[in-house]
Amino acid sequence: MWLYGLGSQLSPRDGAVAKNLAFGGGRAQQAEIRLASVLARFKFRDSAFRFLTLACAWAVLLLLGGVIVSLIMGALPSIRAFGASFYTSEAWNPVTGKFGALAPVYGTIVTSAIAMTIAVPSAFGIAIFLTELCPFWLRKPIGIAIELLAGIPSIIYGIWGLFVFAPFLQQHIQPQLIAFFANVPILSSLFAGPPYGIGVLTAGIILSIMVLPIVTSISRDVFETVPAVLKEAAFGVGCTTWEVVRSIIVPYTSGGLLGGVMLGLGRALGETMAVTFVIGNAHKIASSILAPGTTISATIANEFTEAVGGLYTSALIQLGLILFVVTFIVLAISRYMLMRLRVKGGL
């Protein structure tokens, strides 16, 4: 009778097999043969399905391999033409065919550094608020609101940055920064020049808003893995809330926090559209962070469709390759740290 349980999986013929099994009869042997054919069909279906899922699993690995191979192939003419000088040259001249990655790499590093400097402390603060200070009924709405920031597409940040945030910075913040730091020795060159509005600093701030929810959500998750008994013991010997955070929670979760920061850094390094809108796309390294610059991703987004001539396209693809390798390493470190935490937390 058990075969009836299969319902629609079986044809009426199979139902007959079951009946024969149940009621015996002279055709038992025939039924046995039919049963064997059903089981054989099951077996075939099973191995076919298993093979199909395995093939798709391999597709994920092949995808990564494909990305790396195709980028290397595309970058080959540029690698051959410039060699190591690609990494040390600031030149970016499509007319003479001279390309160097220094300006975009510099811009990527500086914008990401600004973004992380702003985002990481804020994210930790929000995570501490959400896990230690916030009343329970408020935790969910605030958590959702911060996650909404992560859900907003990057192009929205871009258009908002270009039309709202950059003009605001230009009119109200940057002139004062320039005036304030004018006589401070090192900082004066960092905040020099006319207030363009768009530029490296603007891109960095926009990036920090985009990175904030990522670091917040990971930090909150890892803060919640701290055993309550550890915190209670600290409170019991008279620690203040801040001392519990600093001496118990942060040391206990440091690996996970680093993983979250690296994940945010991966996003900041590779983010394209928001940066492209507000960075100004200038291929030069300026000492001032108020000046326009460019990043790897912004360069590719701005110039790829206009790039004529094999070497120009190839140089842009090599930039993409550099970006991919760097983010790959950063993200791998992040995953390693978070995986270790999972093992430690027994999750």
Binding site: T53, W242, G320
Partner: protein, 280 residues
Amino acid sequence: MKLYARRRRQSKFFLGLSYVAVAIGLGWLALILGTLFFNGFQGLSGAVFTQMTPPPGSGGGGLANAITGSLIMTALGIAIGTPVGLLAGTYMAEYGRYTKLTVLIRLINDILLSAPSIVIGLFIYQVMVVKMGHFSAIAGAMALAVIVLPVVVRATEDMLLLVPDSLREAASALGLARSIMIGKVAYRAARAGIITGVLLAIARISGETAPLLFTALNNQFFTTDLNQPMASLPTVIFQFAMSPYKEWQQLAWTGALLITLAVLALSITARALHNQGATK
């Protein structure tokens, strides 16, 4: 007592900073959504949905071709990416749960999940646009599918791992073939979670711009031909916002509003579905 007062002050100071951080975070959200709604609703009209993108400098026009293009490429991207992701996730949770291959795929998949989307665009450009010799909607859809894949893999694996093994064992004890058990029992138990994952994948790709820039390119005209370049909302927003024309910039704001509303609606649906699944 002095020491105690100092420690209390220190604690209050740092915890006060965390309140400030929350206020700033929520402030950004309110500012961005506020200006977006304010500017976007100004340009919202029926013409946005019925008329084509206008030539530079002329008034009127809409985003009909961009909206259609976005819908087509998003649907295709999901249609290509979801089955592959679903099956790969199935392997990881059902067949190879404890194999080294699964550990490796999980790591690679997590990296692909956060990989810069512009690199995906370069990859599809290399393998499709260069081979075909021209930009096309199908290349754009493939780029989106590559972004969908890791999201679905992750959701499928996570959700299948939540299905209690006793359900699987009960099905197998009835003599069900493993593939039928997966289809009839495991998928059904994990359905809400997997659909949530797919919804989040749609939300993710409906705002993606970078991978479309040099795969689907853009198109000033209405087309449903997958072999042609095709307009999409994000690329049109990019082009129009960077232009000096006021009418184009207004359309860009309106397009941005449409995308944001779509993404928010998808996220809320996904969240509601997820909560429903959790209470069950």
